[in-house]
Structure formats: structure tokens, C-alpha cells
Point group: C2
Chain length 699, copies 2
């Protein structure tokens, strides 16, 4: 027992080291020189916009968090853990908020500093931008491991219950950040482009455009805060699942191995982050440096898997399963890159753009649809392979969880890569808005281009890890609800499956609609400012950036309510009406269609985006040609798919599965008939009211 305490203390120490490294990176970024004048002002405007968004978001969410905390306390199946579960929920929400807030603050403070660093050269700018992104990465893995280990240290065998609360807190925040941020970023983007580029014929990131700051803010709240919260959740959930299954199959060593793997991930992520140093000054040098760091970090991780696997569990099988997970991460990268990079699918879309917008859209649908099949085959092969490694069925479930663990060992680097995107993008924006001159105008677009690639490729990773996390939750639900299987041939289960499958479709519809509506509000405001303040166009008066930022914030957050209510209430309603088995089928349906839609939307959107870029680089007549116009339609359609609805699928399927897990004890011991009916009626009214409110807005 003493040994275990020591072990857990070491794990806690390593997670603290991870957080400290994050703080070190943050200090490193802040110690860099900040350019004076215009650039500083622009950067401050972005910062205050981003903070205003987060502040209002937290204000909006707080009442809900309070209600759920109370709900969790009242409905706790094990009374003595009720308080702990509720507190863990608050802690999960808090940690997720801290990661988002700190990450975004560093990102928005880094952008101007990157423009300054670009004066020294490409390498310096790239290293700074990557380290700024890595702050978020290190906070994600450090806080994630710290929280889980502390809870485990206190509750040991009873930790599961409490860990689920912790995971749910993180999930709920992730849902809000992903969806709210996703709506915000695209509404501002579309609004800025449509009035600025299309109507007024002024370039992107032109300071005369009132939506230009909101656009920059959007990059941060969408890609940086949303993505980090999303992956934080998968990171947490797979750890919890592996610990539970490990405990059942191998006893204590089975619990310690996953913790060791996570601690290992912190060390190897640090190594990876520090090794990002481009060899030359081209875009491919930059990309290669990132891939190299990913490979270095992976090799160290794999070596660690084998060491811990043999020393803790006296078998190589767990190491094989975890290694498979890393291989999966890598293959998903390649597949995402194939679907959205300069390969056959994107080339095909660009070619089809020659015959107009309709064929552009159709070819994008074709490529997006087909890409789902490949993603699924790869995930399927990994699950079955890690299952086959072990002979015993229960050990095999542990194997699948370990594959998820292995995949998420690279979380630190993945989040860093993703956060690097908006920083590079913003640096470019700041330079243009502040009308900076010199060689940086050559360097910053290269960073932006690298960031676009990393943002696109990490999307596949986020989806894959969300699916594995959701599967883990689903397995836990089956255990907690006392189900040994689901007979989909019974009407309740079959209907549950159907309804579960429809939820991601409904959720996507709602979030795409929210983007259009919010964008519409932005467009009207920007138009109004141009009209009412003639000095803006001449460049003599500054537009009121703050007003657009404020308006986008309000629009995005008010559009959030309906989808969030649906995600939380439908599993409860289905559980009450269709019982435990029906709810299980509902979960399976939601994971299935959520995953398919997520891959479809991310890849179709990414491919349209790149097809447009290919044409802008001179293919088929280049910018301004009819082919380009058709490609722009594709890109505009793809934008809310890949940046709002697609990424929203990840937290959606995780929240649905977590809610089911939380109500599993209630569903299992069907509560009193009358109570069921009353609660169901209340839920149905809530859902219909919120859908109707959303519907009314569109008329």
C-alpha cells in the first residue's frame, strides 16, 4: 500500500510538472517583446473581445452548472459519495474553464508578439507561436491527470462514481465552448467576408471592416478554447474507463498502468514541444518540424509503454494495445490529410468547380461521404486488433481502452498543434490591421498556412478520440444499467436506436442554422456602420469593433440554448420512456451517426476550403475566375460544417453518453410510474418549447 501511495504521489508530481511547464511556456511567451503602437492596440482589442465572450459565456452557464450540481447531489445512487460527485462535477467544469481561459489569454497575447518575432525570422516566429499554443496543450494534460489522480487517491475503489462527475463537468463546458465558439467564429467570419470582401470590395482583415476584430476573436474562441475543452474531455474519459476496466481485470496494477501512461505522455509531450525547430524557412520545413516532433514524442511514448507494460503488468500485450492507439492517431492524420490536403479528392473538387457551384457542392458531398467509410474501417480494425491481443473478453475490453489511452498520449502535442492555428492566423491579422511592413509580410502567411493544415488534421484526431471516449462511456453505461446486451430487435431498443441516430442530424441542423442567423445579425450591423459613419470607408474614422464583438457574443450564446437542452434532456426522456435497453440503443445510434456526420462534415468542409485555395494559387484561372467563384460557394457551405456543426458532434456524443451514465441507476430501478410520466411531460414540453423558439426566430 505504501508503494501505491508513492506511485500516486509521483503521478501527481508529474502532472504538476506538466502544469509548471505550461506556466513556463506562458512566461516565455509573455517575456517576448510586444510591438508598440497600432499592433498593441489591435491585439488588446482581440484580447478584450475574447475575454468578454468568455465572461458572458461563464455567466450564461453558471446557473445551469448550479442546477446540475444540485441535481447530481440529489440523484446520487451512493449517498455518501453524493457531495464528492457534485464537487467533482464543479471541479471538472472549472478545470475545463481554466484551460480555455488561460489558453486563450496566452494565444491572444501571443499574436502581436509573433509579428515582432517574425522580424527576426521565420524560425523564431514559428517557435514562439508553437510554444504559445503548447501552453494550452500542457494545461490540458496536466490538469486532466492531476484531477483524476487526486480523485483516485482519495476514493480508490469507489472513485468511478466521482470520476464520472468530474468528466461530466468537463464535457458540459466542452459542449458550450465548442458549439458557442463554433457559432461565434463562423458568424463573424461570414459576416466580415460578405460585407467586406463581397459588397465593399475591401481585402480580408481590413481595419475599415467593423467585424474584423470579432473575426479574430472567433478564431480563438472556436479553435483554441473549444478544441482544448473537447480533447480534455476525451483525455479524461478514456483514463477513467481504462482505470475501471484495468481494476476489474488486473487489479491494482491494471489501474496504475493507465496512470503511468498518462504521466509518460506529459514527459513525452514536453520533449515533443521543445523539439519543434524548423530546419529552413519554407512552409514544408515548418510542417516537417511539427511532424518530426510528433514522431519523436511517439517513439519515446512507445518505448515507455513497453517498459511500464512489462514492469507493472508483466506482459507486453498492454503495450501492444497502447502502441496500436498511437498508430491509429497517425493513420487518422494520413487519412484526414488525404481527404482534405492536396490529393485526389481536393483536386477532383477543384476540377469540378470548372462546371459551376452545383458540381462543386456535389463533388464535395461525394468526397465527404466516401471518407466516412475509410475512417470507420481504420477505427474498426484498431478496436478489433486490440481486442484480439487478449484472449479473455474482459481483458480485451481493457485492450480497447488502452488503445484509446495510447492514442491520447499525444494529446499535449495535438492541442498545441491546434492552438498554434489561431495564433498564426491572428498574427497575420494583427500585421494587416496594424499595417505593418517589412519581411514579416512574407513570413506570417507561411505560418498561417501551416496553421491551417494542423487545424484540419487535428480535427480527425478529435473525432477519433471522441468516438473511443464515447465507446468507453457506453460500456460503462451497459455495466451500470445492468445490461448484458441490447436486443435491437425489440421495439423499444429499435426505436431508441432510430431516435439516437436522428439527434446528431437535428443538432447539426440547429447549429448550422444558428450560424446563418448570427451571421445575418453581424452583416446588418457592419452594413449599418458603413452607412451611418461615412468616415469608415475613407479610413478617417474607426468603426465600432466592440459593438460587433458584443452582438456576436449575444447571438452565439442565445443560439446555444436549444441544442444544449436537446443534448441533456433527450437521453433522460428516452431512458424514462424506453427503459434501460432502449436508452442503450439510443446511445449506440447517437455515437454511430454522430461519428459519421462528424467525419463527413469535417472532411467535406476541409476539402472545399483547400480546393478554393488551390484555385486561388492559380489553378483553373485563379482568383476572380468563374471557377474561383464556384469554389468560394463550396468553401462558404463548408465553413459552418467543418468549424461549427462537425466539431460539435464530439462533445455532443460524449455529453449524451455521460448523461445516460449518470441516470443509469434511476433507469435501472425504474422509478415510480407517476413520477416518470410527470418528468417525461416536463421534458417533452421543454424540448418542444426550445425547438419552437428556435423555429420562430427563423421566420
Amino acid at each position: 500500500m505504501e508503494n501505491i501511495n508513492l506511485f500516486l504521489e509521483i503521478i501527481i508530481a508529474i502532472s504538476v510538472i506538466g502544469i509548471s511547464f505550461g506556466i513556463y511556456l506562458a512566461k516565455y511567451v509573455l517575456s517576448q517583446k510586444l510591438p508598440k503602437g497600432e499592433a498593441e492596440e489591435v491585439s488588446k482589442a482581440i484580447q478584450s473581445g475574447a475575454n468578454a465572450y468568455l465572461k458572458r459565456q461563464f455567466k450564461t452557464i453558471t446557473p445551469l452548472v448550479v442546477v446540475i450540481t444540485i441535481f447530481l447531489y440529489i440523484t446520487a445512487p451512493v449517498k455518501e459519495l453524493a457531495l464528492a460527485r457534485s464537487l467533482a462535477f464543479v471541479m471538472g467544469a472549472l478545470f475545463s474553464s481554466i484551460i480555455g481561459t488561460v489558453g486563450m489569454n496566452i494565444a491572444t497575447k501571443a499574436n502581436a508578439r509573433v509579428t515582432q518575432a517574425a522580424n527576426k525570422g521565420f524560425k523564431e516566429a514559428m517557435v514562439l507561436a508553437f510554444r504559445a499554443g503548447a501552453t494550452t496543450g500542457m494545461f490540458t494534460i496536466g490538469l486532466g491527470l492531476l484531477g483524476a489522480t487526486i480523485i483516485y487517491s482519495i476514493f480508490r475503489e469507489k472513485a468511478t462514481e466521482v470520476l464520472v462527475g468530474f468528466g461530466f463537468g468537463g464535457s458540459l463546458l466542452a459542449l458550450f465552448m465548442r458549439v458557442g465558439g463554433g457559432i461565434y467564429t463562423k458568424a463573424a467570419d461570414i459576416g466580415a467576408d460578405l460585407v467586406g470582401k463581397v459588397e465593399k470590395n475591401i481585402p480580408e482583415d481590413d481595419p475599415r471592416n467593423a467585424a474584423v476584430i470579432a473575426d479574430q476573436v472567433g478564431d480563438n474562441v472556436g479553435d483554441c478554447a473549444g478544441m482544448a475543452a473537447d480533447i480534455f474531455e476525451s483525455y479524461e474519459v478514456t483514463l477513467v474507463a481504462a482505470m475501471i476496466l484495468g481494476g476489474i481485470t488486473f487489479g491494482l496494477p491494471g489501474v496504475l498502468f493507465p496512470l503511468a501512461v498518462r504521466a509518460l505522455g506529459i514527459i513525452t509531450s514536453m520533449i515533443g514541444i521543445l523539439s519543434v525547430k524548423p530546419k529552413g524557412n519554407t512552409v514544408s520545413d515548418g510542417s516537417r518540424a511539427i511532424i518530426k516532433s510528433f514522431l519523436i514524442s511517439s517513439i519515446f511514448s512507445i518505448a515507455g509503454f513497453w517498459y511500464f507494460s512489462n514492469s507493472i503488468l508483466h506482459s507486453s500485450n498492454p503495450a501492444i494495445a497502447a502502441t496500436l492507439g498511437i498508430v491509429l492517431a497517425f493513420v487518422i492524420f494520413l487519412l484526414t490529410d488525404y481527404a482534405t490536403g492536396n490529393h485526389a479528392p481536393v483536386k477532383n473538387i477543384a476540377k469540378q468547380a470548372q462546371s459551376g457551384a452545383a458540381t462543386t457542392i456535389l463533388s464535395g458531398l461525394v468526397e465527404g461521404f466516401s471518407s466516412t467509410a475509410w475512417a470507420i474501417v481504420v477505427i474498426g480494425v484498431t478496436i478489433i486488433a486490440s481486442f484480439l491481443i487478449f484472449n479473455d473478453p474482459l481483458e480485451a475490453a481493457y485492450g480497447v481502452a488502452l488503445a484509446g489511452m495510447g492514442m491520447l498520449t499525444t494529446t499535449g502535442l495535438i492541442v498545441s498543434m491546434d492552438s498554434f492555428g489561431p495564433i498564426a492566423d491572428n498574427a497575420q491579422g494583427v500585421a494587416e490591421l496594424a499595417k505593418m511592413k517589412g519581411k514579416i509580410l512574407n513570413i506570417l502567411p507561411k505560418l498561417d498556412s501551416i496553421g491551417n493544415t494542423t487545424k484540419a488534421t487535428t480535427k480527425g484526431f478529435a473525432i477519433g478520440s471522441a468516438v473511443i471516449a464515447a465507446v468507453s462511456l457506453f460500456e460503462s453505461y451497459m455495466t451500470d444499467a445492468g445490461l448484458s446486451g441490447i436486443n435491437i430487435a425489440t421495439p423499444y431498443s429499435f426505436v431508441g436506436l432510430l431516435i439516437g441516430g436522428a439527434i446528431p442530424f437535428l443538432f447539426s441542423a440547429l447549429s448550422i442554422k444558428a450560424v446563418s442567423e448570427s451571421a445575418y445579425a453581424v452583416i446588418n450591423e457592419v452594413r449599418k456602420q458603413f452607412k451611418e459613419i461615412p468616415g469608415i470607408m475613407k479610413g478617417t474614422t474607426k468603426p465600432n469593433y466592440g459593438k460587433v464583438v458584443d452582438l456576436t457574443t449575444k447571438a452565439a450564446l442565445s443560439a446555444l440554448a436549444t441544442p444544449a437542452i436537446i443534448a441533456i434532456t433527450t437521453p433522460i426522456l428516452v431512458g424514462l420512456l424506453l427503459k434501460a435497453e432502449g436508452l442503450g440503443a439510443f446511445l449506440a445510434g447517437s455515437i454511430l451517426s454522430g461519428q459519421l456526420l462528424a467525419v463527413f462534415m469535417a472532411n467535406a468542409g476541409g476539402a472545399w476550403d483547400n480546393a478554393k485555395k488551390m484555385i486561388e494559387d492559380g489553378l483553373y484561372g485563379g482568383k476572380g475566375s468563374d471557377t474561383h467563384k464556384a469554389a468560394v460557394v463550396g468553401d462558404t457551405v463548408g465553413d459552418p460544417l467543418k468549424d461549427t456543426a462537425g466539431p460539435a458532434m464530439n462533445p455532443l456524443i460524449k455529453v449524451i453518453n455521460l448523461v445516460a451514465l449518470l441516470i443509469a441507476p434511476i433507469v435501472k430501478n425504474q422509478i415510480h410510474q407517476t413520477t416518470t410520466i410527470i418528468v417525461s411531460i416536463i421534458l417533452i414540453i421543454t424540448i418542444i418549447t426550445s425547438l419552437y423558439r428556435g423555429y420562430q426566430k427563423t421566420l
Copy 2:
């Protein structure tokens, strides 16, 4: 026993009456006056094109049918039924072919006659067109009931095995007709429009357009032959399922009730068909006449349900379940009409078209995505309600099957309504191509408009019935494979579920791609003819219509191979690799995502189509405005979704489930390991080769 023989003889007699009524309708159509000259020529060209397509299609399919017949014979689990099952398969394929061939022949012979009847008036033209469509309707239900009853009469308790063969024969033909016809019709349509309307600025259905005959042929092979085969299959499958479940729960009376219901459907369809008589001369008079006939036929059917339910089964519960099915059919009509008719969703798309093609596409996606949720809730409520009527779980399964039976009681009318569409459309085409004059130019567009509505609304019915049919097959698979449930939490099942869900996405991608490629071939040929034969544009030389018809036929049929191979081989492969439970989950996944995609594609496509029509009728600037151009993009994107990929989902999920049912005995008693490996490798190579061939074509 004697009583039963008499009963079966009466059922056979009624099915023969149904077929005879079909023949009577055909004769009635052929007895109508055929206009001479140009119109006759055009009509003959359409006929010969349509027959050429069918002929080549049957030639293409025959080898496959032979191979499968032999396969079915060899793999039969009950040796003494091996020959019967194989023969039933051939009979199913043959019946499906007969329905398609006869229906299409009457349809293509009716078009010119309808133009002639229009000289007398709107009512006369409408009645003739509807009766021509009803020929297909009566053949569908007459042959369907005849085949099933004959098989049951011969084999009695052992009939199941043989009936599955019969159903599979029909299914396979339906798959080919639906997909091949769907590709054909859209390739010709897009090809004709792009060169004619867009490039050459000549009107639709202009005789100078070389693709114009192919376009007319396409309407027939797509909507008439494809739809009839599709619904024939659902009609067959639900009957077989109800008979099996009825036998288990209520003994012989449980078998006889479904047969009585089907026979009832033949009589009430005849009443419905004869009652179609519009009261006035407007579009809404025509639509009202069709709805009225549907209601009359439904009321008679419901009355019959209650009579047979109480006299055969001495209970009203079966009647309630069957009535629920009719109500479901009606609610699905309303939902489809809401999603694709002149209501909020379509109005919203038209409104969004004002800001360009991108917002048109996005709003169509939003409306299509949300419509899936409602369709699923309605199907879910029906399934659960018909389940709750009975107390015993097994009886309840019978209740669900009876709901399907009730829904499909209206098959005769539904197929008539659907076939009415291409006939009305073609009549309008013939009149334009033959440059006919007079009052018919006022009447025919009205018929066309009514046909468009019936075509759109019957799509929802086809999807709903396909889902219910697939669920019945799925339940039979569970029984045959000896599964009491599927534990989706095991890796094999979970991976099966994921792969099953991806198949409809892959299949949709392939069929949309096939349309683009075939359309491309058509476009090139039409352009070439315009260029090489200058007389065409002047109107002095006729274009070579036959060449385009031939080319479209070849293109559509060659594009069919890959999706067909995937539909047949993946369930076998999954069954071998993932075992019985994995295959069960695969089926559930394919039904789920197939249904979601089918509703999404049908409704989004229908809504874009109608939004465009609304604008053409003068909304937001009317024809030629920028808003109209944006709406045209939406319509073009929607076309292959609603007419090719969407409808293909129905036979796809049914074929997948039937193949699984056929290999259930093999999967259950896992065959020798080595054989499994060899067969799996062969299947994987087949799938990859066919996908690769499809892929190469696009480069």
C-alpha cells in the same frame, strides 16, 4: 383443412382479379386514340429508348442472377427446399421484371395518348394518365400476392425459406432498377439541361437537343420501373414477416389474416383507382381527386381490417395495429408535404436564395437534416404503439408487422400515383417536342405539376415502408441466426454497427459520382452533335437521339457494378469476419443510417426543387434573377440526391438485410476456419478492385 384450401383459393382468385384489372386498365389505355404524325414518332422514340435500356439491363443482370441462383441452391440449409428456394428467387426476379417492363411499356405508350385526351379536356387527360399509372400499381400488388400465396399453398409451414428466396429475387431487381434508373434519369436530365438550357439557351424539351429523348426515357426508367420494383419488394417482405410471426403467435389464423388484408388491399385499390375523377379543371382539383381516392380506399381498408380481425382472429387488436399503419402512411404524406411543399422550410430556402448559392445550399441542408428527426419520431411512435396494443412480447412483434401490412395496403394507389408522374411529365414533353398546339398547352402543365407533387410525396412512403420491411427482415435474421440480442458493447458488434452505418454513406457517394460521370458523357455527346451537325441548331437536321440514349444506358449500367457488389458482398464479409452478432449490428447500423440519409436526401432535394419553382413563379425577382440562379444551384445539387442516391437507400437496406438472412445459417454454424479466410480474402479483393475501378474512372 378444407376451409384453408378454399381460403387460399379465394386469395389466389383475388390476386388474379387484381392482375386482370391491371390488364383491363392497360387495354383501356391502349384503346385510346393515338395522335398521328410527330407525336407518335416522339412517343415511339421514347418507347424504344426505354425498352433498349431494360433489355440491356436484363442482359447485364442475367449472369449475376444465374450465379446467385446456383449459390442459393448450394448453400441452402434445408436440402429438400434448395431447388424451391432457387426457383422462387428466379420467380421473384421475373415478377419484378414483368412489373417494370409492363408498367413502363404502358407508361410510354400512354404519354402521346394523354396529349390526345387533353384535347377533350383536363379531366379526360387526368383520368387516362392516372389509369395508365394504375396498371403498374395493379400488377405490383396482384403479382406480389399471387407469388406469395402460391408458395405458401405449396409449402405451408416450410414456406418461409422459399418466400425469402422470392423476396430476394424481387429485391435484387429493385436495387438494379432503382440505382440504374436513378443514374440514367439524372445523367440525361443534367446533360440535357446544361448544354440545352445553359449553353445554347434553348428551352427545356426542345427537339434540337440530342439528349431530350434520353431525358424522357429517364423519367420512366427512374420513377416508374424503379419505384414499382422498390415498393413491390417492401410489399412482399412485410407480408412474409407477418405470416411468419402470425403463425408463431396465433397459429393458422395468424397466417391467414395478413393474406386477407392483402386481398382486401387489391379490392380497395381498385375502388380507389376508379374513383379518381377530378371535379374541376385546376391543379388543386386534380390533387384533391387523388387525395380523395386515397381516403376512400383507406376507409374501405380500415373497415375490412375490423371485419377480418374479428372474424378470423376474434380480437380487434390486429385491426388497431393495421389501422395505425394506414395512419402512419397518411402522417408521412403530411410530413413529406410539409418538408417539400409550399410551407415554411421551402419558403425559408427561397428566402435564403436571395443571398446566393451558398446560403441556398446551407438552408437546404438545415431543413433536410431536421426533417429526419420528425420522420423518425413518427415511425417510432407507430412501432411502439402497435407494440403496446398487445401484451405478450411475441404478439407485439406481430403487431409491428401488421402496422407494416396496414401501411402497405395502400400500395396499389401509391404506385399508381408515382407512375402517374412520369406519364404526365412525358405527355408534356411529347407535346413540346411534337410542337403541338391548342388548349392542351394549358392542360398538360397542370398534369405535370400534379405529377411532381405525387412523385415527391410518395417518396416518404417508399422510405417508411422500406424501413418497416427492413426491420421485419432484421427480426427474421435474429431468429435464423439464433440470436436473442446483440451486445453492442462487444468490439465485434460495435465495429459491425459502425461499418453498417458507413455503407449507406459510401453507396450514396458512389451513386452521386456515377450521375456526374454519366452526365459528363452525355454533355460531351450533345456538344459534339451541335458542333458537327450545324443543321441541328437551325432545326433542319434532327439530332441523333438514339446515340445519346445508348450512351446513357451504357454509362448508367457500368456505374452500377461497384455499388451492387458492395451491397451484396459486405454483409457476407462482415458475417464471416465478425460472426453472427457482428452481422446483426451491421444490419442495424445500415438500416439506421440508410433511413436517415434517405429522408435527408429526399426532403432536401424536394425542398430545393420547390424553392426554385416558387421563385420561377415570380417570388424574389422570378426567372433570370440572381436569386433564381442561386435556387438553380440548389435544385441541381438536390436532383441526384432526391432521384438517385436517396431512393437507392430503400433497396440497399433491404438487399443487405436479405443477404444476411440468406447467409444466417452459414454464419450461425461458423464454417471451417480456412474456408472463411479464403472466402474473406476473395471478397475483400472484389470490393477493393471494384472501388478502385470506380476511383480510376474519376481521374
